[in-house]
Structure formats: structure tokens, C-alpha cells
């Protein structure tokens, strides 16, 4: 590598640092005041790129017109943000953290389909910035003029934000609210508008970050999740709520990534490591390290640990006899399904899909419900199990039966490593770390062409001959799912299950009665990883292959929705949720291109109206009927 090459890479790092900072500072600001980790922040960034594409195309021929278009685009995004805050987020500020995260995630889905609806699926290349299309020479290499402007904008915005926060009454109120919202309101400040204004400013910054990218990158629908992952990392590394911290972290991460690219491929122990493709891994590694050694980030302050918000969870009860009989009847019916193959040819195929979803959801529910750890990256274990099995069969030529057992062990390995880090955190930090780990797995799979087939995935992974018929596969999946659920259930009612729930409800008290909380949670994490991995391995054989899309963020979120749709507080919830979700997905996705928006609406519906999920709501209803019937009869008697 030459000196000039390194220098240009470092300059590129500064360019990236600026745009990272714009997005992350808004995210950090919003989190500081509202305590909401806004998953949709990347979506506002993406909308910034799209809106700027439209505006700059129409009015960006002159220098002045271009910059006006950029500012207008950012304002549009800010306006949309304010609207969303008023209509949706105001309703979730008092909700449990998990629901807040989900509500913002539903926005990701809805905004993505909104962009698809307005701008279509194609990548859009916008016009370049007038007056800045040339480049200057640095040590014999060309460096675009526009990038120089980008380098300046980051520090300039940092300065403006600093002035805003320190020299205006509004800024003082924001800083006060970051520390103690309740006190601020007893001093006569209406929090609602403070929150809205912060959210709008945060969205303005995200929109600006996006708009400024318009001349540099094509507008596309993947920008939201790409940017939110990195923005999370920057905010966590810098310290949540700290703007200078976000700047420092953006610099650090952008420069580390630039160095990775400058290094190119390196050879260690005879293996090629394509460092230039490891940038995503590098940034998540930085975050994982920071979270473990300095969880509050470079310039953040240790936060008081939030009180856990599931103290009101009712205990798990063994099921009633009638319920057991119903379950037995249901299983019998499922066993008989292949008999009616002629009448319902499609039934077995959709049921196999449902069984896999049920096992996946049940394994996620195990860490989320009884474990109390809200994982936003359960797809990682599904993916590890799936790729483990696929690689064993296709590359190592092992028989399917062996791969089905050995594949999930890769998921166990992953859960051992990731779980060790994860159980040290809670709340939003846990959600983000699990999300980050899943992104690492995804990016390794996506980029390690030689082993995983890269973006194409691995295909031709078919079951052994004796299992190759639809019916044989059906019975295999059914029995694996049933066994999985029974084992998970058995664990929950065993002493270990009690320990998990004790650790969730009060880690201090659990500690006091001799439960090793971290260890118990770690084991729970690994158990969940194992069954998630099994679901992945079965999936590979049912589909004949696996590709990166199948193990992305989407699957993690699907899992969460399944669990919540059914109801997180009951064991039966995830089963019902997974079945209905899969069936709904199958029937709705065939009818519309906007399945994501539908899914987003479903999530909002759960969060805003049915927080207990289907099974939870039904059982509340049942309790209510049981308690109200005697009253009614009494009234009737009295009136007689």
C-alpha cells in the first residue's frame, strides 16, 4: 500500500465520518430526551436521499438551487418525523421498552413500502452537485471536490448543535430533560412539545445526512437498515445522548473502516482475509468491545439501571386437563393431514413452513418471555444452524441425518459467544447488541463467497432419499417441532426454568437465594440458540437451500412479531402467533407488493391496542367473563 493511497483512504474516512455523524447525532439526541431507541432513524435517512433525488432533479441545476433543494429535503423529512411523533410515538412513551422498539420498527417497514410506492424498486442515480463536480489532486491522486465539502460539514454541524444546546433556552431545556424529565415538567415546561421538537430536529439531521449523499450514492431501499445498524454502533460507542461522543465515535469507526479497506486482503496462517469486506464486522466488533469494557460509551455517563417493567407477569401454570385433550386432538389431526393429500395438496407444504416458524418462535419466546431478554437478532442462530447444515451437506458431503444434528451445533457455538456478551446488558443495549451480532453473522455470510456462496447462497441441499417425499418431510418436521416444544416446556417447569424466571423478575433477589443469574441467562440463551438453529437446519432441507435474505433482520423481526402476536406471557402464545403469522404472510404476500407495510400495521396494532397478543387477550377475556357472570346472575335475582 502506498502513502498516497493511505492518505486518500483516511480522507475518505473523514467523509464517511461526517455523514455517519449527521445520522447518529440525531439518533443520540432523540434517545437522550425521549429514551426511545428509534429503529426508524435509518428510514428517515433513506427518505432524505429519495426526497433530495426528487428535489435536486427538479431545481438543482444552479448552485443555489442545489443547496436549497438539500435544505428543503431535510425539512420535509423533519416535518414527516414531527407528524409521526405526534400521531404514533406519543402513545408509546409510557409503554414497555420492547413495545417502543417494535413501534419504531414498524415504522421502518411502513416507510420502506412508502418509498417503494413513491419511487419504485429501481436504484435512482441523482444529478451531481453543480460547481463541485470536479476533483483536486492529492499526492497524485484525484479527490472529489464534493467530498471536501462533506468533510467540512460534519464539524460544522457539530459546532451548530453545540451552540444550539448551550446557548439557547431550548437547548438548556433539552439538556435538562435528558437528565430529569419529570422535574422539567414540574417547572412548567410542556414535555410533549419538547419531545416533538427534538424528534423533528433528529429527523432533520437524518434527512440532511441522506440528502447530502444524493450526489454520491444511488437512492435505494436498502439504505435504511444499512445505515441504522451503523448509527446504533456510533451512538453506543460514543455514549447514548452525547453529541460530542457521537462525533468521536463516528471518526473512530469511519477511520477503522477506511483502514480495513486500505489494507485489502491479508494472509494469516495461509488463509485469505478480505479485510476490505470486513468493514461491517469491524464496526460491530468495536461496539461489542466498548459495550463490555465501558458500557456507557466513550463520552457517555453510566445510566441508572432501569427498573424492569415485567414485574406484573403472572406465573406459568400447568395446563388444564381439557387443554391437554385439545392439544392431543390437534396433534392427531396433524398426523392425519397427509391422508387427505388429494383434497388439500398444498396443506403439507404450508404446514411444514408453519412448524418451522413455530419452533423458531418458541425458541425466541424462551429467551424473551421467561428469560426476559429481548433479542432483536434471533435470526443469527437460525442462520448459523441453516448454513451449518448446508455447508456440511454440500461442501463436506455429509449425509443429511448427521447434518441435521451437527448443523445446529454451529448455532450453539454462536449463542455461547454472543450470549456471553449479551447477558451482561439489558434493555435497549441488549436489543442493540443482539441486533449487531445478527448483522455480523449476516454480513459474514453475505461476503464470504468461498464458503457461503455469498449473495447467491447455497443450493441443492436436499434430504436423504428416504425423506425426500413431501409426506416423509412433513412427518420429520412435525416430530422435530413437537419434540422441541415439549423439551422447551419441560425445561421451563424444571428447577432451571424457575431459576430463569427468578432471574428475570428480580436479578438481585435471585442472586441472594443463590441463583447465578448471568450463568442461568447464558444457558437460556444457548438453549434458545440451539432450537433456533434446529429450526434453521430443518428449513434448509425443506427449501433445498439457503440464502442471506432468509437469515436477515427480517427473520428476527418476524420472530418477534410471532411471539407478540400470540402473546409473550403464555407458552401457547408463540405457537398460535407463529401459525397465524405464517398463514397470513403466505396469503397476504401473494396478493400485494406491500406486505411489509401490512406487517408494520400489524405490529402497530399489537403495540397500541392488543399488547397482550391474541392468546393473552383471549385469556383476559375468559377471566373477565368468568368473574362477571356471577355478578350478572345476582343482578337478575335482585331485580326479581
Amino acid at each position: 500500500m502506498t502513502l498516497s493511497g493511505l492518505l486518500v483512504q483516511l480522507l475518505n474516512g473523514l467523509v464517511d465520518a461526517s455523514s455517519l455523524f449527521l445520522v447518529a447525532s440525531g439518533l443520540s439526541l432523540i434517545f437522550g430526551v425521549t429514551r426511545i431507541m428509534n429503529f426508524a432513524h435509518g428510514s428517515f435517512y433513506m427518505l432524505g436521499v429519495y426526497v433530495a433525488y426528487t428535489f435536486v432533479s427538479h431545481m438543482g441545476e444552479s448552485v443555489g438551487g442545489f443547496w436549497v433543494a438539500i435544505i428543503l429535503s431535510s425539512l420535509m423529512v423533519a416535518l414527516l418525523g414531527a407528524l409521526i411523533e405526534i400521531v404514533i410515538l406519543r402513545r408509546v412513551y409510557r409503554a414497555p421498552e420492547l413495545f417502543q422498539l417494535l413501534a419504531t420498527f414498524s415504522l421502518v417497514l411502513i416507510l420502506q413500502d412508502l418509498a417503494l410506492f413513491i419511487w419504485g424498486p429501481e436504484d435512482l442515480f441523482g444529478p451531481r452537485a453543480p460547481g463541485l463536480t470536479g476533483s483536486i489532486e492529492i499526492l497524485g491522486r484525484n479527490f472529489p471536490q464534493y467530498n471536501l465539502v462533506m468533510i467540512v460539514i460534519g464539524p460544522a454541524v457539530l459546532g451548530i448543535l453545540w451552540l444550539l444546546l448551550n446557548k439557547t433556552r431550548w437547548g438548556v431545556l433539552i439538556r435538562a430533560a435528558t437528565q430529569d424529565r419529570e422535574m422539567v415538567s414540574t417547572l412548567g415546561v410542556n414535555q410533549a412539545w419538547l419531545f416533538t421538537s427534538v424528534f423533528a430536529l433528529g429527523c432533520f439531521l437524518a434527512g440532511l445526512g441522506g440528502a447530502l449523499q444524493e450526489p454520491r450514492i444511488p437512492a435505494n431501499l436498502a439504505l435504511d437498515l444499512e445505515s441504522i445498524g451503523t448509527a446504533f454502533v456510533v451512538v453506543v460507542v460514543g455514549g447514548m445522548g452525547s453529541i460530542p461522543g457521537a462525533f468521536l465515535a463516528a471518526l473512530l469507526i469511519a477511520e477503522v473502516k477506511a483502514l480495513c479497506i486500505a489494507l485489502g486482503t491479508i494472509h494469516i496462517f495461509g488463509i485469505d482475509f478480505p479485510m476490505s469486506k470486513m468493514t461491517l464486522v469491524a464496526e460491530f466488533l468495536i461496539m461489542a468491545i466498548i459495550l463490555v469494557i465501558r458500557p456507557w460509551g466513550l463520552l457517555g455517563k453510566p445510566q441508572a439501571t432501569a427498573r424492569n417493567d415485567h414485574s406484573a407477569e403472572p406465573p406459568l401454570r400447568p395446563s388444564l386437563p381439557i387443554f391437554k385433550w385439545c392439544t392431543a386432538a390437534l396433534v392427531l389431526a396433524l398426523v392425519l393431514v397427509p391422508v387427505f393429500e388429494e383434497t388439500f395438496p398444498y396443506a403439507q407444504i404450508i404446514l411444514v413452513e408453519i412448524f418451522i416458524a413455530v419452533l423458531f418462535a418458541a425458541s425466541l419466546h424462551f429467551v424473551m418471555g421467561p428469560g426476559g431478554m429481548h433479542s432483536f437478532g434471533h435470526a443469527a442462530y437460525f442462520g448459523l444452524g441453516a448454513y451449518g447444515a448446508a455447508i456440511l451437506v454440500v461442501t463436506w458431503k455429509l449425509p443429511m441425518e448427521l447434518a441435521l444434528i451437527a448443523g445446529p451445533l454451529l448455532a450453539v457455538l454462536g449463542a455461547l459467544v454472543f450470549g456471553w456478551f449479551s447477558v451482561r446488558l439489558s434493555g435497549v443495549y441488549l436489543a442493540m447488541l443482539t441486533f449487531a451480532f445478527a448483522q455480523i453473522v449476516w454480513s459474514i455470510v453475505y461476503q464470504w463467497d468461498d464458503v457461503t456462496g455469498g449473495s447467491n447462497g447455497i443450493f441443492g441441499v436436499w434430504p436423504s432419499d428416504w425423506l425426500s417425499s413431501t409426506t416423509a418431510l412433513y412427518y420429520l418436521t412435525l416430530s422435530i417441532m413437537l419434540a422441541g416444544i415439549l423439551i422447551l416446556r419441560r425445561i421451563l417447569f424444571a428447577p432451571f426454568g424457575l431459576a430463569i424466571r427468578a432471574a428475570r423478575d428480580s436479578s438481585l433477589r435471585a442472586d441472594a437465594i443463590g441463583v447465578d443469574v448471568k450463568r442461568v441467562q447464558w444457558v437460556a440463551f444457548v438453549v434458545a440458540g440451539l432450537f433456533g438453529g434446529i429450526a434453521g437446519a430443518v428449513y434448509v432441507f425443506s427449501k433445498g437451500g439457503i440464502s442471506p435474505e432468509a437469515i436477515g433482520v427480517g427473520r428476527s423481526i418476524d420472530g418477534l412479531v410471532m411471539v407478540l402476536l400470540g402473546g409473550v406471557q403464555t407458552l401457547f402464545g408463540p405457537i398460535v402467533g407463529a401459525s397465524i403469522f405464517t398463514w397470513l404472510h403466505d396469503s397476504v404476500a401473494r396478493e400485494t407488493d406491500y406486505w411489509k407495510a401490512v406487517l408494520g400495521m400489524i405490529i402497530l396494532l399489537i403495540v397500541l391496542i392488543f399488547p397482550a397478543g391474541i392468546v393473552g387477550t383471549l385469556s383476559h377475556l375468559w377471566q373477565w367473563i368468568k368473574h362477571h357472570r356471577p355478578l350478572q346472575t345476582k343482578k337478575v335475582e335482585a331485580s326479581k
Binding site: 433556552r169 438548556v172 431545556l173 439538556r175 435538562a176 435528558t178 437528565q179 430529569d180 419529570e182 422535574m183 422539567v184 415538567s185 414540574t186 417547572l187 412548567g188 415546561v189 410542556n190 414535555q191
Partner: protein
């Protein structure tokens, strides 16, 4: 007799399912300093938070200057001219003294004393010496003065002052007593929560005594001093 500024009727308050206040009635007239007394855990702070609109679950009527405020959020109540000084101080530790005051500042209010940072620095010379110091780098007594000043910046008619003498050095206690008398002279009305009878005797006109969320006594300070039963059963430790 002066007009009533605050009237509480049948106030009940809850934390989750725990029922903390039971039918509390009290009345504060313009210009009075009224003591709200009782042992630790009697419900003094809860009463104040309930009046200020900070609790999510309350029942009963609260009227402030003729307006029903039982259902109003804290910022609305504050805008009507009621100030609250919490017992645990809660200064904004990242903000300087002047910035803390800025958060509390509201427009001038007719009929209420008008405060500026300069006037408060006269009242609390210690604060005047450190206008740019962050709240986090101050002693407990200085923080106490800052919380009081911050609330006064809202130019309230009535201040709910929660145990200003708790956990501060005797010199500061004395300063607090002087301050309350000075504020009273300016025409401010104060509801003061207090465990210490001597302190209350020094500055208050009347007292309510709480026990387990019930009002057990109401009367002038002289009546309270003369009532040994009440003192023994509900106040002394």
C-alpha cells in the same frame, strides 16, 4: 381572613395497587406558611406530588386559586403559579447554576413576587459566587438553595417545599428558616413538609399532622405545641 389559595378535599393516592393517602383534606390561605408534618413514610411527599399532578393514580378534588387541578399535568399546574421543591433536590447536575435557573424561569405574574437571578443571588449569596458551576459540583446545602431558587424563578404564588431541612448542615437549616421567613414577608404562600417541630414552630402559622396517609391533627402551631398526645403519637421518634 385571607382568601383560600389551595384547597384539597378527599384526596386519595396510590402507587400501583398500594393505597397511600386516605381522604386527605387541607386548606392553605394566601400569605400563610402551613406545615405538613408526620414521621418518615407518613405521606407528606406523596401529598405534595399528588397536588402537583405527578402521580398517575389519584382521586379527590384539588383546587388552586379557584381552578380544579386534580386532573391537570404538572406543567399546567406550574404555569398556574404553583411551585414544587422536591425533597431529593434533583438539581440538573450537568447544567450550571444559571442554566438551572433558566429552566425554571417563567413570565412575571401579577400578585406574586417577581424573581430574577440577581435577586436570588442576594437571597443566597453562596450561589452568586458560582454562577457557572455545574450543579453536580456543589455541596448538599448549595444544591438545596439552587432547587429552591430554580422553583422561585417561576414566580409562583404558592410553593410546596418538601423537607428543606432534611440532611443538611445546621448552618444551612438556619439559613433555610431565614429564607422562609424572608419569602413570607414578600407575600409568598408556602406549604412546608417537615418532621422537625422546632423548625416548624419557627416559621409556620398552622400545621396538619399526617400518619399512615390520614390527617390526624389540624390547628395552629400553638395548639400543636399544647397537644402532647398528637406530638407523642405522630411526631416524636
Amino acid at each position: 381572613m385571607q382568601e383560600t389559595i389551595l384547597e384539597v378535599n378527599g384526596l386519595n393516592a396510590f402507587y400501583g395497587r398500594a393505597h397511600i393517602l386516605f381522604d386527605v383534606d387541607l386548606k392553605v390561605r394566601k400569605g400563610e406558611v402551613v406545615a405538613l408534618m408526620g414521621r418518615n413514610g407518613a405521606g407528606k411527599s406523596t401529598t405534595m406530588k399528588a397536588i402537583m399532578g405527578m402521580l398517575s393514580r389519584t382521586q379527590g378534588e384539588v383546587s388552586f386559586m379557584g381552578n380544579a387541578i386534580a386532573k391537570s399535568p404538572p406543567h399546567v399546574i406550574s404555569k398556574m403559579g404553583m411551585g414544587f421543591v422536591p425533597e431529593d433536590r434533583r438539581v440538573f447536575t450537568d447544567l450550571t447554576v444559571l442554566e438551572n435557573l433558566e429552566v425554571g424561569s417563567q413570565a412575571e405574574r401579577e400578585g406574586a413576587p417577581y424573581w430574577t437571578a440577581e435577586k436570588l443571588f442576594e437571597l443566597f449569596p453562596n450561589l452568586g459566587e458560582m454562577p457557572h458551576r455545574p450543579g453536580g459540583n456543589m455541596s448538599g446545602g448549595e444544591q438545596q438553595m439552587l432547587t429552591v431558587s430554580r422553583t422561585l424563578m417561576g414566580n409562583p404564588y404558592l410553593v410546596l417545599l418538601d423537607e428543606p431541612s432534611e440532611g443538611v448542615a445546621p448552618v444551612i437549616v438556619e439559613q433555610m428558616a431565614n429564607m422562609i421567613m424572608a419569602l413570607k414577608k414578600q407575600g409568598l404562600t408556602i406549604l412546608l413538609s417537615e418532621q422537625n417541630l422546632q423548625f416548624a414552630d419557627l416559621v409556620c402559622d398552622r400545621a396538619y399532622v399526617l400518619e399512615n396517609g390520614h390527617v390526624r391533627f389540624e390547628g395552629t402551631m400553638e395548639e400543636l405545641d399544647a397537644n402532647e398526645d398528637v406530638r407523642r403519637n405522630y411526631l416524636s421518634v
